[in-house]
Symmetry: C2
DNA sequence: GCAACATTGTTCCATCTGGATCAAACTTGC
DNA sequence: GCAAGTTTGATCCAGATGGAACAATGTTGC
């Protein structure tokens, strides 16, 4: 069986949606994770956290988890790395002594400009097969899936 | 800012497609990976490999990589685990002494029945927000993205 | 007021990960 | 025929991962 037919067949089974989404994401992650690791010497979740913190000044660590569903200690380590690199600063919360409010530094914002630029160009790269209308439709449907109540809390995989 | 507005905002930026797809996949992985690890005591790539081997009897390890873009040693370990559990057997290739042809055992096929069933129900769970027509459209668009030449080989993230 | 419980974020540690290296088998060029 | 290069898959190892336990703080119920 030829290589193309392998994919054709796997994208025709009862798990075709799972298979095609996994394929896209595993393929993209291989490219993206390696690049971010090599270029910025940080894991992807650190760059994600910086992106979120810059966009929402004063963000709390627990809120980063709502944006990027990752284990708690993963966020904790990413934040610690960003602080060590002086890309963000932590500030004690007035209202809750456990919380730390996070803010990007000028250096962090500067690094983000490059990070966002290359990520946007990478996004255009994997979305290239879609027309603008298709791209819009794809986003709307993905948005619907993201808003589903069972995405994060399953009843069949307990 | 409320929790919902955090997501609303992050899904409205210049990286919205990346953000929404990441959100779906990170969220689904948290559920799925933990379940497969706990229920079947194997990493996700081992179950993926078993799925591929059952579907394509005599598959080679390198071909699994085309279906599931993962590092080569990851596949090698997954295959070794499946063989140790007697879920697959390896058979020397006639034409190439380096290759091993992989075949599911009866036990492997039996386990797959349950794996596929729960995975299909999980798939229905995260696709639930979409109508049948939307689901079909989503699949077609994802299929297009998967077939793009720059998904696996970037020119902007070298 | 305070005991029981919940939440936030950090640390510990066994396990996993993936880039690099390796050995074996195959292919190419001459 | 064979040296150089390639392909296939296994192994090594430094560093990452995530579940669990933890400390500190806040909330609830009485």
């Amino acid at each position: 069986m030829s290589d193309d037919n392998l994919l054709e067949t796997i994208f025709a089974g009862e798990l075709k949606e799972l298979m095609v989404v996994s394929y896209i994401v595993l393929g993209n992650n291989a490219v993206t994770n390696r690049f971010i690791e090599r270029r910025f010497r940080m894991p992807v979740q650190a760059w994600s956290a910086l992106y979120a913190i810059e966009r929402f000044p004063g963000l709390r660590a627990k809120e980063i988890r709502q944006l990027f569903p990752r284990p708690q200690n993963t966020i904790s380590r990413a934040v610690a790395l960003l602080e060590k690199r002086k890309l963000i600063v932590q500030e004690a919360s007035d209202s809750d002594g456990r919380e730390k409010r996070l803010f990007a530094t000028d250096e962090g914002r500067k690094l983000l400009v490059e990070m966002i630029d290359v990520s946007r160009r990478r996004q255009d790269e994997w979305l290239a097969p879609l027309s603008p209308e298709e791209r819009s439709t794809f986003f709307d449907l993905a948005r619907k899936i993201a808003s589903g109540p069972r995405l994060l809390s399953s009843t069949v995989m307990l």
